[in-house]
Symmetry: C2
Subunit: 357 residues, 2 copies
């Protein structure tokens, strides 16, 4: 796969954008910022268009998914759109029985626990991804020079939902499977890598200028387990888009101890959660990659001067890295006042990009 000449990165629409420049380690024209979960429940316009429409359904209606993806860009002037979807959409599109249960999260009709369960998993047909391609195409048409970031859940996170059958705190099921039945685990992780990669590829083909792999639950793993049982699958998911040359970003919460192996699956940018200062993250990564992060979402609800001081600290800590894209160190909480986010974008854009104010 190579990108077509009309792809936003190829025709010049987004190649010089602040986000893509920073992701490539070049000096951006302004400090780029976007927010994980910027499209979603914090926005009244989102709650309006979602009324009466289930979560997964809203991801699969191209016009609606594009609208939701665009809402925060229009409102906040952020430097990127992040494709609105759900981590389990590739499962759903493959035909795995899954739904989002209010107050719980993704719940599978049948958990995947045995070698036979894994062997019986369906294939994700390429045509099933058409609604994703259409949503992305609609989105990038309206975005113009603002890049769209494609997104997928990483294989461990997908597989954790599949083994547990629902969200869990400790992810004991998948972590047991790695050791108790390593071949079954490897087969499941490969299946998840396959659908995760297909989902990412569809977004990039259709116009996404970058791709972020979210490993929401990787923080539950010790480094040895991550390197042995998870990293190969994550690398494989990313292999699906590697030859396109779009910048690849990798993020998970509670992953301070595994930043290096998360980089080493082969990504251009590492996202850092709110717990680890960026200067320390950069030190651990040997200054090799631009960083993304890591405003503490808990501070969004603090008085403005407290939040501003925190953001300036984050920017100062990020100066050492070979590139920095401002973001939260976790997703936007649903209760966040969207006006705070708009003001934050404006503050960040006002701070000179070559260091200091």
């Amino acid at each position: 796969m190579t990108l077509s000449a009309s792809h936003p990165l190829m025709d010049g629409r987004t190649a010089d954008s602040p986000l893509i420049s920073a992701y490539r380690g070049q000096t951006p024209s302004r400090r780029p910022v976007w927010f994980m979960r910027q499209a979603g429940r914090s926005l009244p316009e989102y709650r309006r268009v979602r009324e009466g429409i289930g979560m997964l359904e809203s991801c699969l209606q191209p016009e609606l998914a594009a609208e939701i993806t665009l809402q925060p860009v229009r409102r906040h002037d952020v430097d990127a759109a992040i494709f609105f979807s759900d981590i389990v959409i590739p499962l759903k599109l493959a035909g795995v029985g899954v739904d989002i249960v209010s107050g719980v999260g993704p719940v599978l009709d049948r958990p995947v626990r045995t070698a036979a369960d894994v062997a019986a998993l369906p294939t994700l047909e390429d045509a099933a991804l058409d609604p994703i391609r259409e949503a992305v195409a609609r989105t990038v048409d309206e975005l113009g020079h603002t890049p769209l970031i494609g997104f997928a859940g990483a294989p461990f996170t997908l597989a954790a939902y599949m083994v547990e059958g629902r969200p869990s705190r400790d992810h004991l099921g998948p972590r047991t499977m790695m050791h108790a039945a390593p071949e079954t685990w490897a087969a499941l992780a490969n299946w998840a890598a396959e659908v995760s990669g297909q989902f990412l590829r569809a977004q990039v083909e259709a116009g996404a200028s970058a791709a972020q792999l979210f490993d929401s639950w990787a923080g539950s793993l010790g480094r040895a387990d991550y390197e042995r049982h998870v990293a190969p699958a994550s690398a494989r998911a990313l292999d699906a888009v590697r030859d396109t040359g779009v910048p690849l970003v990798h993020f998970g919460t509670g992953t301070s101890e595994i930043l290096q192996p998360m980089r080493d699956v082969g990504v251009d940018v590492v996202g850092v959660d709110y717990r680890l200062p960026l200067d320390e993250a950069n030190r651990r990564l040997g200054g090799t990659v631009p960083l993304q992060g890591n405003i503490d979402p808990a501070l969004l609800d603090a008085p403005w001067e407290v939040l501003e001081a925190h953001v300036r600290e984050v920017i100062a800590a990020g100066e050492a890295a070979p590139g920095h894209v401002l973001n939260l160190g976790h997703g936007v909480p649903p209760t966040t006042d969207p006006e705070v986010l708009t003001r934050l974008v404006s503050l960040i854009h006002s701070i000179d990009v070559t260091g200091g104010q």
Copy 2:
């Protein structure tokens, strides 16, 4: 407060036990092992005595709490009992409206969010702790030479429940309060430190030979927040029992990044969760304290040979530390086969204490 002459540590009943020896950095007569949550849902005899009795109620019936505390000692031959209680019991005894909701966890009648809410918190009267003292006294009477470990939730964990009003994943409420209203936070953390300390002290006075502070949610904090907004309160909780001379243990999950400041609140032993190998934990702590941990609970459900190999790795990694008490790197999962735990204790006791098998 000093321990009475009839206290198990003072009259020699537990002073030379493998647990207390290892906690003090001395060579124990056998490798000590106990399991966090060893008293509880994994045991059929526990499920039997709890039938029809609510969680908090069972903690407050001295005879029942003692029975539940003793069950795993009788069954598994572990080297310590851990007092059966719930992290919110000190709140309940102070008169805060709280109950355990099945499938949710502790839920407060009214969350504590403002300075006025904190100012209105009741005092924990010493007499309210009598059922705790009675349960402990009954327990140590039967335990003989096996030490009882007293336990309390750390101030941050207690305060996190109080601010959120229920369990939460990210603990945004208390983390926001630290920055948005630091004086309110400090007052709440101090209140929590006070009741946590009183709860610990009652257990030690009544016969507990050691005390463990559990900071279940401390892993949600970056190091700077932990040091500034949490560590002083944890130190204060421990101050309540410091002069007794019982060994103090500190544990939280996901705390690899804050092991040093968790030690520096002033404890004798640091518990390590399953994510960080003990040799690396010992390196970070400069070899200053004995360690407790850190068998991965996910491995309890793996084939025996996989579990045994893992336990031997944990023991080998712990050799470098100035003392090692085997434990899980998190609590016993409710679905654990108790026979696996019994077999594990026997394996651990069979491995020579001076290194190797």
